[in-house]
């Protein structure tokens, strides 16, 4: 397994470059660079990488829309303004440029994080966090929460199937009642599982924190080279633009 710190380091540096340079070209280059690395090096399907990015872009569009467009009572809201009923909606080259800069900067950073998230399981990310000496309590909590995501999801699906097989969702009203019961049941189930986990941990001599062996990873020198090229490219684009 490739050292997750190698990937996390790259993602962090690319993010910093996008944020500090504040150049749309750097942001766009980061998007293409990360996309290329994810698809060619990590073999993440292009559709998956782009799908996640498009979803993020949709949220981004809503926010930068507010930056690009201003609404006011007079035509002075922008260089170009249109009357919409009693209000004026307008925009100007400077606010459009600001929106474009914001959007590319955010998208570049998001692409870097997506690369990390799509190529690294959470367990490996926890190892990186341990390496960074983050608080043990935080890491232990994340470990158990991550595990519970799967066990509780399993419970949820099973309870839902059991309810549906007895027509729990036959009508809207019954559906609402069933969903309420399901939520309550899941809470009780989570409590019960927590108690059982506590017992099992105690019987294995748990004292305070969940100490485990670190995972050993290999450093991928090829990836280091690709990362260096990518980062140098971004810095060059920054200095040229």
């Amino acid at each position: 397994m490739v050292d997750p710190a190698q990937k996390a380091g790259l993602a962090a540096l690319v993010m910093v470059l996008c944020l500090v340079s504040d150049k749309p070209t750097v942001g766009l280059a980061a998007v293409f660079g990360m996309c290329g690395l994810a698809t060619f090096w990590a073999a993440i399907p292009l559709r998956v990488f782009c799908g996640v990015l498009v979803a993020e872009a949709a949220f981004l569009l809503m926010t930068v829309g507010g930056v690009a467009v201003s609404i006011g009572a007079s035509p002075s809201v922008g260089t170009w303004a249109f009357a919409v009923g009693p209000c004026w909606v307008g925009t100007s080259p400077s606010s459009l440029a600001l929106a474009w800069r914001l959007a590319t900067r955010a998208l570049g950073s998001a692409a870097a994080m997506n690369f990390l998230a799509l190529t690294t399981p959470l367990g490996d990310l926890l190892e990186v966090m341990r390496g960074l000496r983050l608080p043990v309590l935080l890491i232990d909590l994340m470990t158990v929460v991550y595990r519970f995501v799967f066990t509780l999801m399993d419970s949820l699906v099973r309870m839902h199937t059991a309810q549906e097989s007895r027509l729990g969702y036959a009508s809207f009203q019954r559906g609402m009642v069933s969903a309420g019961l399901l939520a309550g049941g899941l809470f009780v189930d989570a409590c019960r599982r927590t108690r059982r986990l506590q017992t099992a941990l105690e019987s294995r001599g748990c004292s305070r924190d969940l100490r485990v062996l670190p995972i050993t990873y290999r450093r991928d020198s090829g990836l280091y080279r690709v990362e260096a090229v990518l980062l140098c490219g971004l810095v060059m684009i920054w200095s040229l633009s």
């Binding site: 367990g123 991550y146 595990r147 059982r196 099992a200 105690e202 019987s203 001599g205 062996l213 995972i215």
Partner: protein, 271 residues
């Protein structure tokens, strides 16, 4: 035969419950033997096991390890848990980490072993349980049988002298069951003591050296499978007579073949 663990007149009431889960349960566990603990649901098997490991504290009652009475301070509890390990009924609930290897390493590290020592313990436990091929898989991607083996390895890595296995065969397919029983057999060959609760008559009576029968929070029998199988009252506590087995044993009896390992003749008469 040396006694390793001794439970004497244990009483226990779960907080907030009106009835006693254990009403004077006593059991002497000889070292290096296989014990099958049987009895109906709710008869106190799991509660008894939790006392063996110091998770529950009897009131009144005493637990002795190697003849020494257990005191419930931190040091004695850690020592007891080093000697007595429990694999719980639901493997799903005792694995806390997404990584198989990390979950197994938890117990050894709690014993204060060095990383290097812990690593070799993890490796050895994984070899014993035949799970080397799934060490890199995330826990949520394992089957029920594999999860059980990982839970078992997590306890074995602590190298306990007594291993308690609480009804783990229930949800497993016959292959996974036989794998669990093979591993348990290996442990007994190495001198470990194994206690297993099960509802499976064939497993209990073929596998165990001693069959322990519980009823209403008490141990009512702890004897060789032959002796227990001759006691009609005991056989009624461990399960209704199996029509196939009782017919076979009746036929054996008429041919004068009493006393075979799996003799259910008395159960047939009693039922």
């Amino acid at each position: 035969m040396r006694t390793i663990l001794e439970l004497d007149n244990l009483h226990y009431r779960y907080p907030g419950q009106g009835f006693l889960a254990l009403k004077g349960a006593s059991l002497v566990v000889p070292e290096g033997r296989k014990l099958a603990v049987m009895g109906r649901n709710g008869c106190g098997k799991s509660t008894l096991f939790l006392h063996c490991n110091g998770i529950l504290k009897p009131n009144p009652g005493t637990v002795r390890l190697d003849g020494r009475e257990l005191r419930y301070d931190r040091g004695s509890l850690l020592e007891l848990r080093r000697q007595v390990g429990i694999v719980f009924q639901s493997a799903e609930d005792q694995l806390f980490s997404a990584s198989v290897a990390q979950d197994i390493s938890f117990g050894p590290l709690n014993l204060g072993l060095s990383e290097q020592e812990a690593r070799s313990r993890v490796q050895a436990a994984a070899e014993t349980c035949e799970i080397l091929d799934i060490m890199d898989r995330p826990v949520h991607a394992l089957s029920a049988g594999q999860k059980t083996m990982v839970a078992l390895a997590g306890v074995l890595a602590m190298d306990p002298r007594v291993l308690i296995v609480d009804e783990v065969l229930g949800n497993l397919d016959p292959w996974a069951r036989s794998q669990v029983l093979t591993v348990l057999g290996r442990l007994v060959d190495r001198g470990k003591t194994v206690l297993m609760s099960t509802h499976d008559l064939a497993v209990a009576f073929n596998w165990a050296d001693i069959v322990v029968v519980m009823k209403d929070g008490r141990v009512v029998a702890a004897d060789s499978p032959e002796n227990v199988s001759r006691d009609a009252d005991m056989m009624n506590l461990v399960g209704p007579p199996d029509p196939w087995l009782s017919r076979a044993s009746r036929e054996n009896e008429s041919r004068g073949m009493l006393g075979s390992r799996l003799s259910f003749g008395s159960a047939a008469k009693g039922g």
